[in-house]
């Protein structure tokens, strides 16, 4: 059936979603490149090559069409990876993230992890210092604008972001961070929220679950920040995003269970005679 899918103002196709996320990720990346004097260009090239390589390998192995959505993850990785990490380490970490974070599940939307989070966690576990990333305010501002774009397009969940923001603000008010309130809107915090924690492929998929996911991620971010350097560092955001993603399917299952129970109670109100259709 070739029913034309054109009558929606902007119907989503996988290509358009990739484009929207790509544009969103490119904006802070360009700001980061300008601020860093172009030192991340090699990382970017490496990340793009690796993403294409792994996607091609898995497409061939699985005899599936190419899926370009992982390109977005390459952009985000190039934005976040500290320049002090050697290229070899970057290559191994990103390959691990792509293969075990998304490819083994069958592509974006079929797994439950964000490959950038997996790659950065891999780097953190292997002893690299993630917190040397010195992204400027321009990156934070452009990442926030990208977040607004994605929210406006409906690709990010406002529930998740609202849950995150409210929880973070409340907890920071009760339990102040040593580095002050400015860290709440620093580059790690904003980029992490928009591209890691809010990733729709790696967060809860129900409305109630989205609230819970935002609240949980914010609580974890603050917990890790308090136990670390006292500010919202990249490592705190990455660890929080990782744990929140791992718990997201469980949160969704809880929502499903509550929904099924509520419907069963409603349905039980009527007569119970069985009829064959």
């Amino acid at each position: 059936m070739t029913l034309m899918k054109t009558q929606l103002a902007f119907p989503w196709t996988s290509a358009r979603i990739t484009l929207a996320f790509g544009v969103a990720a490119a904006a802070p990346l360009v700001a980061g490149l300008i601020a860093g004097g172009g030192s991340q260009l090699v990382s970017l090239a490496l990340a793009l090559v690796l993403a294409t390589l792994w996607q091609t390998v898995f497409s061939r192995l699985r005899k599936r069409p190419m899926d370009w959505s992982v390109i977005v993850y390459a952009l985000v990785f190039a934005l976040l990876v500290p320049a002090s990490v050697s290229l070899g380490q970057q290559a191994i970490a990103l390959s691990f993230g792509l293969v075990f974070g998304v490819m083994v599940f069958g592509g974006r939307g079929r797994g439950f992890l964000n490959p950038v989070v997996v790659a950065l966690s891999f780097l953190a576990i292997s002893g690299a210092d993630l917190d040397v990333m010195q992204a400027g305010q321009s990156v934070a501002i452009l990442a926030a604008l990208a977040g607004v774009e994605l929210l406006w397009l409906g690709l990010l969940s406002w529930r998740l972001i609202a849950g995150y923001a409210v929880t973070l603000a409340l907890m920071a008010a009760i339990w102040p961070l040593s580095s002050g309130l400015g860290t709440l809107i620093g580059a790690s915090s904003v980029v992490g929220l928009v591209f890691l924690i809010s990733d729709p492929a790696a967060s809860a998929g129900t409305n109630a679950g989205r609230w819970a996911h935002g609240v949980l991620a914010a609580a974890l971010v603050l917990l890790f920040a308090q136990n670390g350097t006292g500010d919202i560092s990249l490592s705190a955001v990455v660890s929080a995003a990782f744990l929140a993603s791992v718990f997201a399917p469980m949160v969704d299952q809880a929502v499903i269970w509550l929904n099924a129970r509520r419907r069963a109670r409603r349905a039980g109100q009527g007569s119970g005679a069985r009829h064959d259709g």
């Binding site: 989503w12 358009r16 979603i17 959505s69 998929g205 009829h275």
Partner: protein
């Protein structure tokens, strides 16, 4: 989430205001005040409209048939019949798998009409059931769950009469019923006798279409599509389950039952909306059931290559004849593929069978207390048990049409739901 006025026994009137949903634009709606008769050159009955039944023709090619004459009977329940929607000659009979009816084509001619003995006084449900079966009106009922023609002896827990139609480009049922109000009332009264449970009449806002009756609940429905579909209405008013079945029937079929009981003859025509961007002049036509799509759209298509579908623009199907439960034909112009860098990018990066990406837009266009993203995943992965737990028994193909349209994966969730429901129907009847 929903402004819901619980419909309880003591309140015959109620409101159902649906907030979630989406009205899309596929062209101008037809003028509701004019209904033009549309003579057609051929009429086809398609076995695929009744996938769970196995019809055997009892007439032969070349036979002359009268309006209302029995053409086919079901192999397993011979009392369920298909009748001729017009007088004419049987042009061809094609059979499909296991020799069941695939298509039966009639060329209309003459005006022979079969008459039926109708029960004179209301309340005689056995006689009513008998005449509905004999006159072919039985197949206008559809069960929920599963969306099948009800068993000849079954009794539903409730009946839903759908006098609302929010499908894009569909005719306004109020306009269609305006000159059938007497027949419609008679039909509602008759249907009322088929169940001991409540009968829901879902209608647009405004004065009640029929006077109050015991067990009849008149519900005024408002909101964007799919507020007017029976699935949305049953979900909020009388949710179905493994142990609770409702029958649904659309308003025009109810009026046809009323006509049958008043005159003893079958009303073989329906008002069909022919509309869409591919149609020069959207119009309401009075045409026989199963009219050939090419006859309904002759001289009305805006461009030669436009395909007219039976059903709504969202979930219409490309079939040669109007399907039994469809009262609209939609023809939408194809959009030219984009030129330039963006078009190139779209073609290069297009994925045919991608995974879905859960978006809040799913919840915003799905007016059910069900969880769309988990349900879509369960359907796409063929996880029948999870789909059942997530409430798929309350749904039929048409209820998934908006999600299919919005989801970026390109999956047809209506088809996936049908497969799941067929498995569940077999499991639950075992």
């Amino acid at each position: 989430m929903f402004a819901r006025n619980p419909i309880s026994g003591s309140h015959p009137q109620g409101n159902l205001r649906v907030r979630q949903g989406r009205d899309l634009w596929f062209g101008e709606a037809p003028d509701a005040t004019k209904i033009a008769p549309c003579p057609v050159g051929s009429v086809g009955l398609m076995g695929a409209d009744y996938s769970d039944l196995c019809f055997d023709p009892i007439i032969a090619e070349g036979d002359a048939v009268a309006l209302g004459q029995t053409l086919c009977t079901d192999r397993h329940q011979p009392s369920i019949t298909l009748v001729a929607p017009c007088a004419g000659r049987v042009e061809s009979i094609t059979r499909g798998a296991r020799r069941r009816l695939k298509t039966l084509v009639i060329t209309p001619e003459g005006d022979d009409t079969a008459t039926f003995d109708v029960p004179s006084e209301p309340g005689n449900s056995a006689a009513l059931r008998d005449v509905l079966l004999k006159s072919g009106a039985w197949v206008s009922f559809r069960t929920r769950p599963f969306g099948r023609v009800p068993h000849a002896e079954a009794t539903p827990d409730a009946i839903f009469i759908t006098a609302t139609d929010t499908r894009h480009l569909a005719a306004d049922p109020r306009a269609v019923l305006s000159d059938l109000s007497e027949q419609f009332q008679r039909g509602v009264t008759a249907i009322h006798d088929l169940t001991q449970g409540p009968v829901f009449l879902c209608q647009p806002e405004g004065p009640a279409l029929v006077p109050a009756m015991d067990r009849l609940r008149i519900v005024q429905v408002s909101g964007p599509h799919p507020a007017g579909l029976a699935g949305t209405q049953t979900h909020h008013l009388f949710p179905v389950s493994e142990i609770r079945t409702v029958w649904e029937i659309n308003a025009q079929d109810v009026a046809a039952i009323g006509h049958l009981l008043m005159t003893g003859t079958v009303m073989g025509t329906r008002v069909v909306s022919v509309a869409g961007t591919g149609v020069t002049q959207p119009q309401l036509l009075r045409a026989p059931l199963g009219a050939a799509i090419s006859d309904l759209t002759r001289g009305r298509l805006a461009a030669p290559g436009v395909r007219a579908l039976t059903g709504s623009p969202l979930d219409g199907r490309d079939l040669p004849y109007l399907a039994r439960r469809d009262v609209q034909v939609s023809a939408v112009l194809p959009t030219p593929s984009r030129a330039g860098v963006f078009g190139w990018f779209e073609r290069v990066t297009a994925t045919k069978d991608g995974a879905t990406l859960p978006m809040e837009a799913f919840e915003r266009s799905f007016p059910f207390d069900l969880l769309p993203a988990p349900l879509m995943r369960a359907l796409a992965s063929g996880d029948v048990e999870s789909a059942q737990r997530l409430g798929c028994l309350e749904l039929l193909e048409e209820d998934m049409a908006l999600l299919t349209e919005i989801c970026p994966s390109g999956c047809d969730y209506g088809v996936l739901l049908r497969q799941t429901l067929d498995v569940l129907a077999e499991d639950l009847s075992a």
